[in-house]
Symmetry: C2
Subunit: 116 residues, 2 copies
């Protein structure tokens, strides 16, 4: 598995457009990408214009290839360009320390497998 944490700073005047766009992107990623296992969108408690995306993919190719070439990702990039503050997008890449504890782990739960 491959985890992506995305820290985003949004232009306050674009907050509504951002929320609509990231909601479309997160739901389409989960629905249309078999390798996108989790995609949660969180708003910072102390700053409504800061967000964290929590994304788990089956592997790196599910993120770098399948996700980044999906049509909903291209649409999201356009929204992001308009709504995110320049320099306000920071990715952190990680892997689960205990893969067996991740409920969406395809190796743990056959119903999560792409081929199931």
């Amino acid at each position: 598995m491959f985890t992506v944490l995305v820290d985003l700073r949004v232009r306050p005047e674009r907050l509504e457009e951002f929320l609509e766009g990231i909601g479309i992107n997160s739901r389409a990623s989960l629905r249309d990408e078999p390798g996108c296992l989790r995609f949660d969108v969180h708003q910072h408690s102390d700053d409504p214009n800061r967000f964290v995306l929590y994304e788990i993919y089956a592997d790196q190719s599910a993120f770098y290839e399948a996700h980044r070439t999906a049509p909903h990702y291209a649409a999201w990039r356009e929204v992001s360009t308009r709504c995110v503050v320049p320099g306000g997008h920071v990715n952190t890449f990680a892997t689960p320390a205990f893969p067996a504890d991740i409920p969406e782990n395809p190796d743990q739960n056959p119903s999560n497998r792409e081929t199931a």
Copy 2:
């Protein structure tokens, strides 16, 4: 729901002890705290001594009261004091932007309710 993202920098020589301690804490939190809905542990891809904890609670009291007074939390704090670099613990508090999209949301899935 109430989300806690914890950024941790671990002393390299204490990595093994850290991993054992955070594994015990994350599993006990999920097992023993009805209000702890999710607790994932991730290791940064570019630095094996940096970690992110991804925790979702039913509400703030499930974190500030139930979690922080649990016996496994006290044990974890002792491990943390030994293993985490001074100043290397940063909490970020957030809430789901789309609560209905969170699979563990007690309001969406009655099986997640404390009273179920």
